[in-house]
């Protein structure tokens, strides 16, 4: 409780990086107790068939907390385009929540009759890129809100990939003119599992497209780092956030927790730590060009 009060008492929060959290029913009460939040992200698929939004979310909206949508099943990296009826439902949900941003992952989740139930990496080939770009352009034509794409964590990687992950992500974003939802926990996980330098990865990304950042925890099992969203954020991921802030303006940062939900105090502590990293002045300030290129998302949130 103390931690959340510290955040609430600092009015400078509204002038800097926005702070958000992934809204889950299990922590709905704890979230409603956090006065520091600027936005919450909801999983669109969990709400698009509901007749009405849960009261807790409506309450947050009354408190001027922005709601943004996050999808997990549009499968932009799959062989088939997204279902139009699903897109209609998502558009309806966006209108209902007043969401001004929608995102999904650079992944696939189904092939023919098989559903993976998890985000799977796409083979990074020219052919897969063409299909993915076509799928995303199809999505963007039908969605009523701007679209962002998130990098995923994966244990498996395709040997037949022609591009490395950062190149692939950058190319998809450029070709589809999409925003970037950068998950630093996923980046950290892949850097361990596939052995690359996360800083080099960051340098290759079109950071002027950055909409917001996901932060989450994970754990090592044997040789692999598992992006569990059930543990506290490791220091290495905080360090990546600090590095990212040196490279560009970070419009918003969000905490993701999907399992082993912490107590209200623990949640406050974690949000407070995120807030501290976000408000600490970066050693190297971003260039004027980077500052000017702060995207619509930051401006939209600033208007509130």
């Amino acid at each position: 409780m103390e931690a959340s009060n510290v955040i609430a008492s600092d009015v400078s929060l509204k002038a800097g990086t926005r702070l958000g959290i992934g809204w889950r029913p299990e922590i709905a009460l704890a979230i409603s107790q956090q006065p520091c939040l600027d936005f919450v992200e909801i999983v669109a698929e969990n709400f698009m068939n509901m007749p009405a939004l849960p009261p807790a979310l409506l309450h947050l909206r009354e408190l001027q907390v922005e709601i943004i949508l996050h999808c997990i099943s549009l499968s932009p990296g799959g062989a088939k385009r997204a279902d139009q009826r699903k897109l209609q439902k998502i558009n309806r949900l966006a209108r209902e929540t007043g969401a001004r941003l929608l995102s999904d992952h650079i992944c696939f989740v189904r092939a023919r009759e098989l559903e993976s139930g998890h985000l799977m990496p796409v083979p990074r080939t020219a052919g897969a890129m063409r299909v993915m770009v076509d799928n995303i352009l199809f999505l963007k034509e039908r969605l009523e809100v701007p679209f962002a794409l998130e990098n995923i964590a994966s244990i498996c990687d395709w040997h037949n990939s022609h591009l490395d992950e950062a190149q692939f992500v950058a190319e998809v974003l450029e070709r589809t003119d999409s925003l970037l939802l950068l998950d630093l926990a996923n980046l950290y996980a892949n850097s361990i599992n596939h052995g690359f330098d996360p800083l080099e990865y960051l340098k290759q990304l079109p950071l002027h497209r950055l909409a917001y950042v996901h932060m989450a925890g994970g754990t090592m099992h044997g040789e692999f780092y598992h992006d569990t969203h059930a543990h506290a954020i490791p220091d290495q991921v905080y360090n990546l956030l600090a590095t990212l802030r040196k490279m560009t303006d970070v419009p918003a940062v969000m905490l993701e927790r999907d399992d082993k939900f912490p107590s209200e105090i623990e949640l406050s502590r974690e949000l407070n730590q995120l807030y501290t990293v976000c408000t600490r002045p970066p050693q190297t300030v971003g260039t004027a060009q980077q500052a000017n290129s702060r995207n619509w998302f930051l401006q939209a949130l600033s208007n509130n």
Partner: protein, 186 residues
């Protein structure tokens, strides 16, 4: 589809023009090496060429989709059903990923099931293992759909969750408390 740019052989058009020429309303050339076309004809040829290139791109995209589907299906089949693994993926990575997916699915279903009915741990897992073998694909509606599918599987196998009613009421009571709290806090 390939477009040949070679010149017609001598005397090739003497009998009758080829089919594609008649489709484009191209008259046979008056002389062998000189093709006489009006601007209108030229426009038609260009339009036709453009269309052909467009079809060619669509064909290519369709081919890309087919190949991608094949690769991704093979990958999922290996992860979920346990088929022979594709050469383009590392064996160890696949094995770890497959176990991880199974555990994730189990946890997700367990969480959803706990809202309806919780079985004893060991029993639940044994039946879930059988269920996953018979239903390798996760339900398209996500964890709740999967949980519902599993629940039906348990019913079909005579494994009716004994604590269904109690757990159900507990869940309802919890929801009611939560809603009341929200209401009073407004």
């Amino acid at each position: 589809m390939r477009v040949s740019l070679t010149m017609p052989a001598r005397g090739a058009y003497k009998k009758e023009p080829p089919a594609h020429c008649s489709q484009m309303s191209l008259k046979p050339p008056a002389r062998d090496r000189l093709i006489v076309m009006t601007p209108k004809d030229l426009l038609k040829v260009l339009c036709n060429l453009h269309k052909r290139i467009g079809w060619s791109n669509n064909d290519s995209l369709a081919q890309d989709r087919k190949e991608l589907e094949e690769q991704e299906y093979e990958f999922l089949n290996c992860l979920l059903v346990g088929d022979e693994h594709p050469l383009s993926i590392d064996d160890v990575q696949l094995s770890v990923c497959s176990k991880s997916l199974y555990r994730k699915r189990f946890r997700a279903v367990e969480r959803c099931m706990s809202k309806i009915a919780r079985l004893s741990g060991a029993n639940f897992e044994r039946w879930f293992s059988r269920f996953a073998q018979e239903n390798p694909s996760v339900h398209p509606d996500g964890p709740c759909g999967d949980a519902h599918q599993f629940y039906k599987f348990l019913l079909a196998n005579g494994q009716i969750p004994h604590s269904y009613i109690i757990q159900g009421y507990c869940w309802l009571a919890r929801q009611l408390c939560y809603r009341l709290r929200c209401l009073f806090e407004r």
